[in-house]
């Protein structure tokens, strides 16, 4: 079990992480979402022991990763670009991993190479999708217990994206490892994540499953008899998605009685509750422009 305890970190007098606290069980896929600069990459780098926190701890089982380097045999961090091993050929990288990690499964890795038709070139010579597949496959071949992935599908074509996600799913199912994914691809995350951790300004804003996230906020389509009331449009606690004639589509952070009563007071023709996607939840909870799908 992985436990992040009250993690705080300041960089250049700016608070990047502020009391981050959560637990990850085995077999879970956790999505880490937040605006750019919210602290996700710093969090992942801290969780694997690269960065040392000002306060707090990251425990794998009962041991702190900052005190026991050996724990890193079971935790793999895959950054968003295959920069570290770019001068290595695929085979050299394989040899390196094999020598570092006793649990490395060479045949499993080779099988992935064959399946995706990847030749033994220098990693920097591979296509972007192949780079991602190689780095992830190397990581998964280690058969570690915890994986921290930073934007694994960023910039990949549709086929590569799908391959990467399937690789992740198969790993979790087969080996019951845990994966913490930081990503902006919300439409992917909502399919594969067990729970979602929303980070805002270095703080955990919410931790919940997609169902819970959906239940938290609301998205309504309301048809009015006459026209959409100005008072509704002027409300600060909602976000208007669209207004077309007498129909308004909007989201609200919280479902409140007051809001419901307010709408009812105008006697609308129809109120339809639309299920929220993760992108909707992101937009309303964390504000502003999220990445478009």
């Amino acid at each position: 079990m992985l436990k992040v305890e009250q993690l705080s970190k300041q960089i250049d007098r700016q608070t990047i992480l502020d009391g981050i606290d959560f637990t990850v069980e085995s077999g879970e896929i956790i999505a880490l979402v937040g605006r750019n600069g919210a602290g996700k990459t710093t969090l992942l780098r801290t969780m694997v022991g690269i960065i040392r926190p000002d306060q707090g701890d990251v425990l794998y089982g009962t041991k702190s990763i900052f005190k026991d380097a050996g724990l890193k045999r079971d935790v793999i961090f895959v950054p968003d670009s295959a920069d570290a091993l770019k001068h290595y050929t695929v085979n050299e990288a394989t040899d390196l991993y094999e020598s570092i990690y006793p649990s490395f499964n060479r045949s499993a890795f080779r099988e992935t190479l064959t399946r995706y038709n990847i030749e033994n070139k220098k990693i920097r010579q591979l296509s972007k999708g192949q780079k991602a597949l190689v780095t992830l496959s190397l990581a998964f071949a280690v058969q570690a217990k915890y994986y921290l992935l930073d934007e694994p599908t960023d910039g990949l074509d549709v086929v590569a994206k799908s391959d990467v996600l399937k690789l992740m799913i198969a790993q979790v199912e087969k080996r019951n490892c845990s994966i913490i994914v930081s990503s902006h691809q919300l439409h992917e995350l909502e399919r594969i994540a067990d729970r979602i951790i929303m980070i805002e300004s270095g703080r955990v804003k919410a931790i919940m499953s997609l169902e819970e996230a959906r239940a938290l906020s609301i998205k309504w389509q309301v048809v009015f008899n006459d026209h959409v009331p100005v008072e509704l449009l002027e409300r600060k606690d909602i976000e208007i998605i669209s207004v077309t004639g007498r129909v308004v589509l909007f989201m609200a952070k919280e479902r409140t009685e007051e809001l419901e009563a307010f709408i009812d007071s105008y006697n609308p023709t129809l109120i339809e509750e639309i299920p929220m996607s993760l992108e909707d939840v992101f937009r309303i909870q964390l504000g502003g422009e999220a990445h478009a799908v």
Binding site: A69, K72, P79, S99, I100
Partner: protein, 374 residues
Amino acid sequence: MPSKVLLKKDWKQVSLLWILLVFLGIVAFTVPVWTQMQVYEEQIRDMQENPSNYSDILREDVETMNTEDFFNSNSDYGYLGGLESLIPMGVVIFLFVIFGALMASVLIGSERNSQMSDFSMSLPYTRTQLYISKWVIGAAGITVATLVGGALMFLIIRFSDYFFLLDGNEVKVLGLIVFLLLSGISFFSVSLWMGSFGGESISQVVWTFVALVFPMGIVALIQGSVIAFSPNFSYTFFEEVFESVPMRILSPLNNIVNTGMYSIFDSRSEWTEFLTIGLSSSIAFIVLTFGLGLWMFKEAPQENNGRFFMFSNWLWLIHIVIIICFAMLGGVFFSGIFYPQSVMLYVVGFVIGAFLAHLLAKRLLYRFNLKLKS
């Protein structure tokens, strides 16, 4: 106890440089020797063919002289030089400074420039293991280059016409080779230390330059400043500082300069001093730089990768030191334009230097990178 895996990983990064170092080390230890021997041969031949040109240094009939006679400093005959002229200290030192810095830069700096640094720190090895592995590989390169090169140099002289120069001096030659070895490791070790807090390769190289120059440089600046204010200040005071043991420890270049290379073969006291102070200063420096490098590598906050100086809490101190040094430099420079030194000019130079240094420091220290991929 460096890890085999880490050694292999570091080897992959540095192997080309390492092999080049050994190769060039062999060249540096042998080619200048051979060249010098050619020069001697030429000189002897010239003297034998045109003795009249050398009447002031030749006392006897040149035909009766054998090669040995040309190198006997106690005789009345022409003296062409001693063993010290055959040993290419300067060339080897130069090579070791360059390659020491290069290897250190490849081992740490280039990692910091890419995500390899993060990758290394996510591996199941302590930072101590990471640093020791790098140190051992670099030191091994210097060692192999020196031992192989030095042995070859020894053999070349031994089997040449000048073999007699080695008589009674074998241990001393060995001592010099050891000294070169220790000096070479010193350069590498200090450069690696600079990489422990220099956030990427350019910073590391700059800091290496600073480290090599600073001990003597700061004393020279203080000397210049003191003299600007009181020109009659005792000159010998600073001379003593430059020759002091602490200075020899803190500055390997100073140590080399103070090694009485030309007299260790003749003077017993010089040889003793070389053995005691010369060699041990080098060893002290190596221990110092290794220890500091290891400690700072462990402590350096990885999130500051890419900065000129990674310990951001101490940037203010570096800022002040930069200003003071360049201010003094300005002062000394300006005050020395006219003789006798003028205090006024010193102050003017001091202020200008301080101002420019402040601008430099602001650009250097507080930007997040000089050239970075983080």
